[in-house]
Symmetry: C3
Subunit: 437 residues, 3 copies
Amino acid sequence: MGLLKELCTINLSEIGRELHLFAAKLYPICRSITGDGIRKTLNVIQRKIPLQIHEVQTGTSVFDWKIPKEWNIRNAYIKAPDGQFVVDFQQCNLHVVNYSKPIHATLPLSEIRPHLFTIPDEPDWIPYRTSYYNEDWGFCLTHNQMLTLEDGDYEVSIDATLEDGHLTYGECYLAGRSSDEVLISCHICHPSLANDNLSGLAVATFLAQHLSGRDLRYSYRFLFIPGTIGAITWLAQNKETVERIRNGLVLSCVGDAKGFHYKKSRRGDAEIDRAVACVLRECNEPLEILDFSPYGYDERQYCSPGFNLPVGCLMRSVWGTFPEYHTSADNMDFILPESLGGSFQACVAIVDALERNQKYINQNPFCEPQLGRRNLYKATGVESDGREINARLWVLNLSDGENSLLDIAERSGMSFSLICDAAELLNQSGLLRVMPA
Amino acid sequence: MGLLKELCTINLSEIGRELHLFAAKLYPICRSITGDGIRKTLNVIQRKIPLQIHEVQTGTSVFDWKIPKEWNIRNAYIKAPDGQFVVDFQQCNLHVVNYSKPIHATLPLSEIRPHLFTIPDEPDWIPYRTSYYNEDWGFCLTHNQMLTLEDGDYEVSIDATLEDGHLTYGECYLAGRSSDEVLISCHICHPSLANDNLSGLAVATFLAQHLSGRDLRYSYRFLFIPGTIGAITWLAQNKETVERIRNGLVLSCVGDAKGFHYKKSRRGDAEIDRAVACVLRECNEPLEILDFSPYGYDERQYCSPGFNLPVGCLMRSVWGTFPEYHTSADNMDFILPESLGGSFQACVAIVDALERNQKYINQNPFCEPQLGRRNLYKATGVESDGREINARLWVLNLSDGENSLLDIAERSGMSFSLICDAAELLNQSGLLRVMPA
Amino acid sequence: MGLLKELCTINLSEIGRELHLFAAKLYPICRSITGDGIRKTLNVIQRKIPLQIHEVQTGTSVFDWKIPKEWNIRNAYIKAPDGQFVVDFQQCNLHVVNYSKPIHATLPLSEIRPHLFTIPDEPDWIPYRTSYYNEDWGFCLTHNQMLTLEDGDYEVSIDATLEDGHLTYGECYLAGRSSDEVLISCHICHPSLANDNLSGLAVATFLAQHLSGRDLRYSYRFLFIPGTIGAITWLAQNKETVERIRNGLVLSCVGDAKGFHYKKSRRGDAEIDRAVACVLRECNEPLEILDFSPYGYDERQYCSPGFNLPVGCLMRSVWGTFPEYHTSADNMDFILPESLGGSFQACVAIVDALERNQKYINQNPFCEPQLGRRNLYKATGVESDGREINARLWVLNLSDGENSLLDIAERSGMSFSLICDAAELLNQSGLLRVMPA
């Protein structure tokens, strides 16, 4: 039974709830591009799937970059002249500018102000800020909080370390019949942000779990990595593996209420690009296909010109385009169980399409074979409008070694699953055989 | 004088009437995919054109198929308990399911009912049904007839033979200067159906007659064959000829009142595809171009992947899309003399385009030749708006060995005939010469 | 500083006024395809730019043509029976059919009429007529003038010579770093016509002056030639130079009030075609791109199939489509200083684009280089919306040796100048290098 057909028998709303619970468990952890937040996150993922955890030393060269110092934070606050906590890391880990260097000092408000960040247009939201490659410190708070601050001396404390250590990432490899690989990549470097990071890693985890132990054509490699530096590190240290990647998908922002956006790979017409367009058009959710651009998530690295990998990016809302992006409003209420479930279903459908998409060779290429005497000129089951027969005729007609099932679905305008069903039936009947790679 | 120009001097409405009379003569014959109905039909055609009649024995293997037994029918009826004929083959040959095995029995109505076919939505029409490859018997009648049948024992009689014999088809070959061929194919296997079979074979017959004895560039091969099995048989037995086919056209349903539909070959950009689009756009009738699909008429076989011949299909109404299709309403009133005449004219225009479409080589490719001193920089005859001169400039500019006249017509947006006239005039003046094949 | 940026510091309306004055100085001269009118015109141009003047003898063969006799005119008139001048060459040089053979005779009006040309629909305008290759004589006058003529004997006089002599043209060559050439061509064979001939030659002259003495990548060749025969002559006598032409532009009708029309080269996708589309879309004036056609100006010759040069044609109004075309209404009022200035600016922008358009090679093709530590991940200057950074990412991502900056601008949808600025900045930083030709 195909991955997708089996999925129909699964309770998707139950999966949606589980995905949401899984994300909720990871939500409070203060992640960054290095440090214990990532380790804790990977440990939770490891309980679900066979995950290899890699540690790469500070200072290691990865292409044009170097692994930065490891950042760990225990606590942080700003205490008002009256002793009240006005900003408290324990309340929300977004309060500290991610990668802030340690500080403990009492300073007049005027000297602190340049280190405070708010969103005047959304005065109740805390912004998310980082300072990875520029040693500095800072706090994020709501604009309304900031407006209440009166002059005076404030105690600022960031109890953090920024020292030589490691960059940590997780990798889950599921071996298939072929060493050709499908890459699924998500970033795990954001602290309490739900859509932007948790939604992607949750769906990736559940997808790996769903595929684990199956007889698959492709091998599947899941990367749970810090954004940018993580992808660069993995690419730098896995040049041979890279050459086996046939398709790839970056998953991010797949939990909000909107329809799908798929950003094509740099190639624009890779199998993954066409497969996503083909199968997601058949699902019930809206789909918008975006051209590649060199900004976004780690497809930036996978699609850099030296690699030019066939890797696209599946999102619901597009990063940077929704007001909650990189704020405290990207919380567990912003992602919905049914959206997570729908994204999981979409990923299974995409994998199913990659698994099923092959070239077949018509064994009777001269004229049509006599379908009637093989009982293939009648519809099977409920469908009786001729679509099944037409799908068989399309597959026979175009299976000349040039066309994959995706090509046939595109040219015929028929659904990919109908074309696959036809091909598999004709294959069983001996009228087709799979074209060797 | 070109084929098309000569045609302008012919009385097209007279040709339309003759085509209709010719079809009317063939209408009563009970044709099938084998048997005497086909032989009688071919004999009538043979009175108009030099036709070679082929007989292929039952049991002969043709690719994945075998020539079936030959079917011949003399009479058939259903007699009511009161002795009245309720269904009578002599009234209409559609009453018998085509290829019914013989039967003579008296049976209660309840046992006959599974063998009766009607069209409830069109209660006064008789459906057309076949059972070629599944031995069975049956009758077709109007739904209103069926509603009058009362319980009781009925005498059913089908006086037919289904025995080893032959499959019969006709072939007319008109040799041209080149052994490259244009194939014109039509099916002749339907009994009293006018648009679906008679219109095509009538137009094909008249076209062959019109081309016969002319000095033509291409050789022309006309096939009058039973659908599917006839095309498969011819392809199986003429593999060497197949390789000489440069263009082809299946003709069917070219007699009804609607505008033209042209279904492109599997290649989609074959010369025939572009020629039909180009010349039929210039005629006064509506034209819709359809993409190839692997269902329809014998283009299914010609365009099977092992052959992939450049063969399209010219229709007015598309098979299966009009209510009269495969019913007694597809009768001689359903096809019109003016439609048949217009289809004949379209076919002549298509042949004319194939004959005229060539590549020429500009003999003065560096800068324009001085048209003025050759008196070619003035319009000839009535046209004075510069279009003739522009056509000459286009032909000169693009006749670099890459572009055929069709290419030039397409790129310039000018009419194909204007471009051809220009090329032929420039050729006479020595400014062009025909590019060797 | 780039050509275009420098232009921003120049007073364009001042240049527009100078262009108009320059054209006004040339307006009264009676030019033709040969003769002293052309020589006087070239002498005026020569005062502005280093111009080489060529003389080619009558009778010289140039491809399919021969250099015609040289035509010079001193005076011409028609005198009425009462001794009044009814047509006087001294008033307007359009009054004489260009290339009229000499005549001096007294003739009845009825014999003169076949030699008189007017525009009945524009009764106050004098038409412009020529008879280069058909020896004849004639006069052009307003329709209203003609209506006043009464029967009687008129004295007609054309004091002209049509004798062996020369065809004259001018050539200005500006050597660049590469011997690859950009050709700028304009016709200089029309008498008192402003938009059609003076506008183009004025802009070409000023452009040559602007480029003169600069350090340029391409070499630039400006041709000031009689239409058709001049281009044919130059092409016939410069076959080796022709092979070095990488881009070219015919300039004509660039002075009227309308937006730009650019007619593409025969190739349709040459660098010049794409550069013009790209940079003129960024200017404030309307732009319409026209497909190539083999009628028009000297692109007809440059784009003849033997040459097929990448030469397009920049116009404002398209020849033949405006009522003033080839009439006395195409006078100095019909061309506007601001239009001439805008056309000059457009030409500089096009040259600037050709100069800047190169392929670069990303020196860190594997993953993104770390822009942050090079201070390239922040916008420079006033722009702070990220467009500058995005432009850098686009240039880095696509600089794989396949894509020129034009390709990158087209794919990214960003402005060409933004892409160029990004490339030049990245080049300075060592992240790119120019791809060798």
